[in-house]
Structures are given as structure tokens and as C-alpha cells.
């Protein structure tokens, strides 16, 4: 394993252990709902489902359709906030 991947693994581990990952997840969800991202994406889902027949939609179909759009739709402010928090965490705890 490269050093970077080692580092990455370590960081992830620490993130989970300290519960920071969960916290970040909740924060992201809250922010996305606030900014209306969730409703936007849901509307998109409706369109997708109506196009395909609604009986036979699978999770994979949805994921394939939704995820790229979802990633694109995240507003910048939310992205910045989250990155800031991650960096702060790394700064604090990345010194091994």
C-alpha cells in the first residue's frame, strides 16, 4: 500500500472511531435539506420513474440516474462548509 492510501485508511479509521463521520453525515444531510437539494432531486426521481414504468424500477437504476445529478446539484456553500470541517479534523488529528 502506498503511503497515501495508508494515510487515507488511517484517517478514515480515525474518523469513524471518533464518531466524526456520523456527525459530518448528519450535518451534510441537514444542509442539503435546508437548501432544497433533496426536493430538487426527488422531483428528478419522479421524472425518471415516470419514464421507466414505475412498477419495475430498481435501486440500481435510480442510483445510476440520480447520483451524478446529485453530486452536481450540491450548492457551493455546503461543499465549502463540509470541506472546511474535514480539513479541520485532519489538522487536529492527522498528526499520528
Amino acid at each position: 500500500m502506498s503511503k497515501e492510501s495508508q494515510l487515507r485508511a488511517l484517517v478514515n479509521q480515525k474518523l469513524i472511531e471518533m464518531g466524526e463521520r456520523e456527525r459530518l453525515k448528519e450535518l451534510l444531510r441537514a444542509r442539503l435539506i435546508e437548501c432544497g437539494w433533496k426536493d430538487q432531486l426527488k422531483a428528478h426521481c419522479k421524472d425518471v420513474i415516470r419514464e421507466k414504468d414505475s412498477e419495475h424500477v430498481t435501486v440500481e437504476d435510480l442510483v445510476a440516474e440520480i447520483t451524478p445529478k446529485g453530486r452536481a446539484l450540491v450548492p457551493d456553500s455546503v461543499k465549502k462548509e463540509l470541506l472546511q470541517r474535514i480539513r479541520a479534523f485532519l489538522a487536529q488529528h492527522a498528526t499520528l
Partner: protein, 279 residues
């Protein structure tokens, strides 16, 4: 480090998207995903109304305020919003009306002091048992007091009657035939009544009221010899005082002499020069 941060960020966003997908997929499969969509026509039925004089549902909201109803009891036209309380008072039902009636009776009871009201009070008090029981206890007490100290004049001898009448009001109640045992100045009965009672019980010349100012009511009363004799003996002047005599002057002078007969002596004294007729 920066790339790691971005990677972490991407992972988080992907997690969020996945979460949403699962939610939507489940909703579709369970059939509740499209529930919030209704057709435009039924949406129009529930649109918010914004006209003056009408609420947001389209109902007129003070339609009945100005209407007047005719009371079935007293046949007056009453405003709709005042109709219910008016009916309560008008029909004499409802908690408030019985309370007011009780209070009115209590205050008139203190004025009149007639015992016949006791039964009425009990009936009314049955409506509100908790409130009424206190009132009943109070009233019972006061009524009992009156009740026990009322006196039947028929059972008393003339001397007892006389002694009673010198200290008490003695007016005979219409309903109960009892003599009032309040003081001589009792506010429930007039002096006129007291005089009538004394004449009735003791004979026309047996008037020894301190406030007496008056004409003796002679005439139609049959008196036994006893009181007449006694009264003759009692008064100075000793002129014949016949029952039919309406000599007001004599009576008044006599009365003024005998102004303070408040002593309750059992023996009769003839001479009363010193004033005060002693019994």
C-alpha cells in the same frame, strides 16, 4: 492532504444520494410516492379564498350575529349572541339562575323572617349540592332559631302574655300563629301591628306600649273581666273606662304616664303614682 479531504467529501455526498435513492425506491414500491399529486380540478375546490366579509374557506362568519330570535318564554326578541344566557335566566334553569335565586331568598329571608320560606329554600338548594349544603346548613341554623322560639299565644295565660308583650314584639304571624319574640322595636312589624296584637290578646285598655301615642281601639273586642279590672286598678284617674268608650284623651294621658313598663314583676301593684306600672 487536500485530496484526502476531497475524497472524504465525495464519499459523504454519495452516501447522502444513496440514502435518498433508497427512500424513493421504497416509496415507489410501497405505493406512496405519488400521493401528494392531485389533479388541478380538486385543487381548485380547496383554494384559499381572499374576499372581504368571508373567511378563507368562503364561509360568511358573522352571519348569525345580527339575527334576533324570539324567546319562547317571554316573547321578546333577543340578539342571537345573548340568547343562550337570556334563556337560562328566563326559564330559571342553569347554575347561575339558581344561585341568584338562592341569594335573593337569603336576603329576603333576613328581612321577612317568615318560616314558610324554609321549604322553598330546600328545594332550590338541591340543585347544587356542594354549594347548597353550606347554604342549607347556615339557613337551617337560622331557621331553627326562629322556629324554636316562636310562641303560641293560645297556650299562655294572661299574665304570661302580658309579660311577654312588655318585652317582646309579640306580633302574631299569619302563617304560623306564633308571636314574634323579637324586641319591641323589631323592624319586621309595625307599631300598629303590635298595638293590634295587644288589644287582641289583652283587651282594649291594656295598651302599655312605650311608643304608644294613640287611639285606643275599643269596641269590638270582648274582654274578660280580669284584664279590665286590673287595668282599672292600675291607672290613676280611675274613671270608668268602659270598652265602648273611645276617649282618646284619657287614654293618651294614661299612656303617657305609663311610659316605662319594662319591668317584669309578677305582682300587681295598684298605685302607680311614681310612674311605671309594675306587674
Amino acid at each position: 492532504m487536500e485530496s484526502i479531504a476531497h475524497e472524504i467529501y465525495s464519499d459523504l455526498v454519495e452516501d447522502a444520494c444513496l440514502g435518498l435513492c433508497f427512500e424513493v425506491h421504497r416509496a415507489v414500491k410501497q405505493g406512496y410516492f405519488f400521493l401528494d399529486e392531485t389533479d388541478i380540478e380538486s385543487m381548485k375546490d380547496f383554494e384559499i379564498v381572499d374576499q372581504p366579509g368571508v373567511d378563507i374557506f368562503g364561509e360568511v362568519y358573522n352571519q348569525w350575529k345580527n339575527k334576533e330570535c324570539v324567546c319562547p318564554n317571554c316573547s321578546r326578541s333577543i340578539a342571537a349572541s345573548r340568547f343562550a344566557p337570556h334563556l337560562e335566566k328566563c326559564l330559571g334553569m342553569g347554575r347561575n339562575s339558581s344561585r341568584i335565586a338562592n341569594r335573593r331568598i337569603a336576603s329576603s329571608n333576613n328581612v321577612n323572617k317568615s318560616e314558610s320560606d324554609q321549604e322553598d329554600n330546600d328545594d332550590l338548594n338541591d340543585n347544587d349540592w356542594s354549594y347548597g349544603s353550606e347554604k342549607r346548613a347556615k339557613k337551617r341554623k337560622s331557621d331553627k332559631y326562629n322556629y324554636n322560639s316562636g310562641i303560641y299565644y293560645e297556650t299562655l295565660g294572661p299574665e304570661e302574655l302580658r309579660s311577654l308583650l312588655t318585652t317582646h314584639c309579640g306580633v302574631i304571624s299569619e302563617h304560623t300563629k306564633r308571636m314574634c319574640t323579637r324586641s319591641l322595636r323589631c323592624p319586621q312589624h309595625t307599631d300598629e301591628q303590635r298595638r293590634t296584637v295587644r288589644v287582641f290578646l289583652l283587651g282594649p285598655s291594656a295598651l302599655t306600649l312605650p311608643e304608644g301615642d294613640a287611639v285606643v281601639e275599643n269596641g269590638s273586642y270582648e274582654t274578660s273581666d280580669g284584664p279590665v279590672l286590673v287595668s282599672r286598678l292600675q291607672w290613676d284617674g280611675s274613671s270608668d273606662i268602659s270598652p265602648s268608650d273611645s276617649g282618646s284623651s284619657k287614654a293618651s294621658t294614661n299612656n303617657s304616664e305609663t311610659k316605662k313598663p319594662k319591668k317584669k314583676k309578677s305582682s300587681l301593684t295598684v298605685s302607680s303614682v311614681t310612674g311605671g306600672v309594675g306587674y
